[in-house]
Symmetry: C2
Subunit: 218 residues, 2 copies
DNA sequence: AAAATAATTTAGGCTTACCTAAATTATAAC
DNA sequence: GTTATAATTTAGGTAAGCCTAAATTATTTT
């Protein structure tokens, strides 16, 4: 079993890996975790010993397959809890992170899988990020925005990019809620604003708003 | 903010206080937490400093009002999570404890109170123990068993004493589930078994089973 | 390519929360 | 009320996870 700090380092390396082909640097991890480089070095040695990363002195760290799976299991929990908080406990999308950071470390496979079932096996968290399966498998697809759709296409609303309270209120007022289907009906030439069709109503949103909505094609 | 270990010590002292008028002994806490007396002594000094307990060398510890409230807030979380696990995630009553031990340490008042609301403000956990309110207030009432009711009285089923899997299956089969109302219709003189009325059906249960069911009078 | 700068690691400390063994105090037995 | 026993505390040590400052290695500049 991994310590809280080990888990956090793994997660950090995973997230930082996405935008970097080779090893993740000591400094970037330190910045990410709000800690010092020397502390990170220590931890990298330990994770290397445990075969979770490959660490070469002065050349950063890379996750092994085991490390990747382990990180994704933690991320799975994080994202499931985020869905729970938003869908069941009325948290706003910008309030969930801090709590999910704690909940992701709870150790109980049964808990995680039952939660998954209870939430009806969600595929994405409220920020539009995909939820790994129990084995730590994830299908990486580029995040699609509503503004990426062509006329006539339909997308399922899975998350927001900017989760400012102003934007969330904007969505609330227009009854645009997580999971609803949005069809792009027409685009204004003048300002690129989009006419969209929701379950019941049609409405117009700015291109700026549209590029703030993550969707999956249907 | 308290550390995990501080929280566990407080909780332990609270539970051990119930069956002892004066201070809780160092040894009993050590036994309860699976740790050594010397470690407990250290912690008692610290909790005393923080005004959570009154600790007198060689004479054990007693919770202060602050310590009691603090302990009860942790216990509130523990019991709410137990309800969640049983009611929403299909955990059995004997599977919840280990997970609730972890969940009780999550820090977020919003989370706790939203969970409470989501669960519809339950008054008791699946073991029949009362759930403190957000301020850490609890009404201590002796645990009432179904076997304590008189003929004609009705109780709400709030928990079990022995949560062996055999007994839980017994309840399942008879559709006796948490929260249902049970009316005592008649008692056999021969073996003291009870005829009881459930929401829909009537049935007979042994006195042994009846004394294993915690209820609140209605 | 040497020098300057930046990144990283090492060395050595600190705190928390444990531990064992020895010393001290309380309690029970006589 | 001593004495034996049990409970508790103190002293001193360990591991994890953090830190600062100094030393080392990489990288960038010139």
């Amino acid at each position: 079993m991994l310590s809280l700090s080990e888990e956090n380092h793994l997660k950090s390396i995973f997230h930082l890996s996405i935008n970097s082909e080779d090893g993740v640097s000591t400094n970037s991890i330190a910045k990410n975790l709000n800690t010092k480089a020397s502390s990170v070095t220590e931890m990298l040695k330990k994770l290397n010993e445990k075969l979770l990363i490959v660490y070469i002195k002065y050349h950063g760290a890379q996750l092994t397959e085991l490390g990747r799976k382990t990180a994704l299991k933690i991320i799975r929990k994080h994202r499931l809890w985020e869905v729970f908080l938003v869908e069941k406990l009325d948290f706003k999308w910008d309030e969930v992170h801090e709590v999910a950071e704690q909940l992701e470390h709870i150790q109980s496979e049964k808990l995680t899988n039952e939660l998954d079932k209870f939430l009806n096996f969600p595929t994405h968290d409220p920020h539009g990020d995909p939820i790994p399966n129990p084995a730590g498998f994830i299908k990486i697809t580029p995040k699609l925005k509503l503004s990426d759709l062509g006329i006539g296409e339909t997308g399922k609303f899975i998350g927001v990019k900017d989760s400012s309270s102003a934007f969330l209120k904007y969505l609330d007022k227009r009854k645009i809620s997580l999971g609803c289907n949005i069809k792009v009906l027409h685009q204004e030439e003048f300002d690129q604003s989009l006419h969209i069709g929701l379950d019941e109503t049609n409405l117009t949103i700015s291109i700026k708003s549209a590029s703030n909505l993550y969707i999956t094609k249907i």
